[in-house]
Subunit: 337 residues, 2 copies
């Protein structure tokens, strides 16, 4: 039986004494930095003039701990990566917690430490935060919303408008590991596997790539909805067709096997450390090789190309046929991020 | 019985087709603006060089509709006001939604419209957002996290370090209306009252005040924990004592009456349109009068003063005695914001 002082109480969320103790004992030891002003209404920071980027995401992943990550690591990577693929250098994050009464403080601590480690890896700081507590049964353990602010990299010139026929689609590694690792961590599954979430911050990689390759025209991290949903969305927004080649798309054998067993398609599974880049044809081979050699992305691959069109997404199947792909619809994997 | 297409489904949160339809049909018609890039990973905006402020808050108020407001209006006001009292001009907001499966789309629409109206009133735009759906019983209807970015006003020079003995504490109106209106809107109460939440954006008022009165040294909005908790926190952070005068603190008669009946103290109730300013003694009377005359804040009042000390908060009672006040502890009013 958990003791009262091992768990989150409603009073931890009332803005009073226990809220302050929670801050002092759990959040500040891991998150402390020069800009974090825990007793102020807002955090202040200095910026150079220029273009800035902002993004926000709520994280509700279930279960909160899974092979290769947890909701805290995910909340940092997800927001960092949204800025990274937009061509921005992530600088500052805010983090807002909604916690269910009775949540173990030891789990909260583990999540906070994981967030701090991931921030360190990505070179970002959490400079503002908030904690709310809701009663038992009014939330499922813990939800985290992160918002990220960054500055646009001068080298970056990415956007739907730059995508042209003849451009090439590159991804930085195999697909489906995050989605499947989370799914298999649920009570209802009893597979023993070596599948780990690919959850990782991508910003140092994308920043380097943007410096090395002027031909990068667009990037997108392949989270909810997976490669297929995101590629379809890009095709529609760019009013071009995208043609993917199934044989070229890297998927780990174990992921492939379990997906076949469960009737899942790795092209629709969420990833948290994978992105696609749309690159001018002449730089594509060099960039894929650079990813493999300089970034250890052993399975970075050219997986398709851009064609004239109205926004269709086509997949060349293993058997040489062509299939039109749509966005994920109707068979959701809820709470995958 | 609600039909399937009247409510939020799990598939509205899977990043696929229904997520896009939700965006197109509900969010974009109200939130559309030049910077909102619904199909991008991040929103871009231009900034001048200078000091910026950022703040974030999760909103979990229960019930989501209450006299004088709703969770959407609250989510805009709360974040706008945190920037405002920090001396910043709020510019851009992000909004992240966690919605329970089965939530009525008509309620979502009502909340979105209310958010858009409040943004318009405050002169801010929502430029990035996210929606996640969790299963029935995994959240209570809807939670909203807003993050705000603003630029520090050149006129603003506010901070704990500026608070000195002889400074005066001003508030812009009566206390307790928000907390009590939310509490009375819960099923367990059957009072018929005319108490409305004071929920309102304060930024145009604070911006004007900062321009008019150089003697404003500190501001704080009196949300969770109310006047007492916030004043105690300020006293501790400034290492000064604060002495409040109960007879000078405005509380509406009806609020006072119901608080007495229920055993609540209005000094600890949350407000969403009230702030305290700590002002140099010589500007205090002029500023209180300015609030009353120019801003229609009829009950704006000088309610106390700053003294040498170590961070104590004292209340001169109606009977002339002096009571030491502490932060809210042990009798929380959960989900008041």
């Amino acid at each position: 039986m958990k003791r009262l002082n091992d768990v989150i109480l409603l009073a931890h969320g009332d803005g009073g004494l226990l809220t302050h103790q929670l801050l002092e004992k759990y959040f500040l030891p891991s998150f402390r930095n020069d800009l974090l002003a825990p007793l102020s209404d807002a955090a202040l920071f200095e910026m150079q003039a220029g273009s800035m980027a902002v993004t926000t995401d709520a994280f509700v992943v279930y279960p909160i701990f899974f092979p290769g990550g947890d909701i805290g690591k995910l909340a940092i990577c997800g927001t960092v990566n949204d800025l990274a693929v937009s061509g921005a250098k992530p600088l500052y994050l805010t983090a807002s917690f909604i916690i269910e009464e009775g949540f173990a403080l030891s789990d909260l601590e583990r999540i906070i430490v994981s967030m701090a480690e991931t921030c360190h890896e990505a070179g970002v700081s959490i400079i503002a935060g908030d904690t709310k507590v809701v009663g038992r049964g009014q939330a499922d353990k813990i939800f985290i919303t992160t918002t990220g602010v960054g500055c646009l990299l001068p080298e970056a010139d990415v956007g739907y408008h730059r995508i042209e026929p003849g451009d090439v689609v590159i991804i930085n590694g195999p697909l489906g590991n995050h989605g499947l690792s989370v799914l298999l961590a649920r009570e209802s599954f009893s597979f023993k596997t070596k599948i780990y979430s690919d959850c990782a911050p991508l910003n140092t990689m994308t920043e380097d790539l943007l410096k090395q390759f002027k031909g990068i025209k667009f990037m997108r991290d392949l989270t909810r909805g997976g490669l297929a949903t995101n590629a379809k969305e890009i095709a529609l927004s760019a009013t071009k067709d995208i043609r993917l080649d199934a044989a070229a798309i890297p998927v780990d054998d174990e992921v492939k096997g379990i997906c076949e067993t469960l009737g899942l398609d790795p092209l629709y599974l969420a990833n948290e450390g994978k992105f696609l880049a749309i690159v001018s044809g002449k730089e594509a081979d060099t960039m894929a090789a650079y990813l493999r050699e300089q970034w250890g992305a052993g399975r970075a691959s050219i997986i398709g190309r851009i064609d004239e069109g109205k926004g269709d997404l086509y997949l060349k199947t293993y058997l040489g046929g062509t299939r039109r792909l749509q966005m994920l619809a109707g068979a959701p994997l809820p709470r995958i991020c």
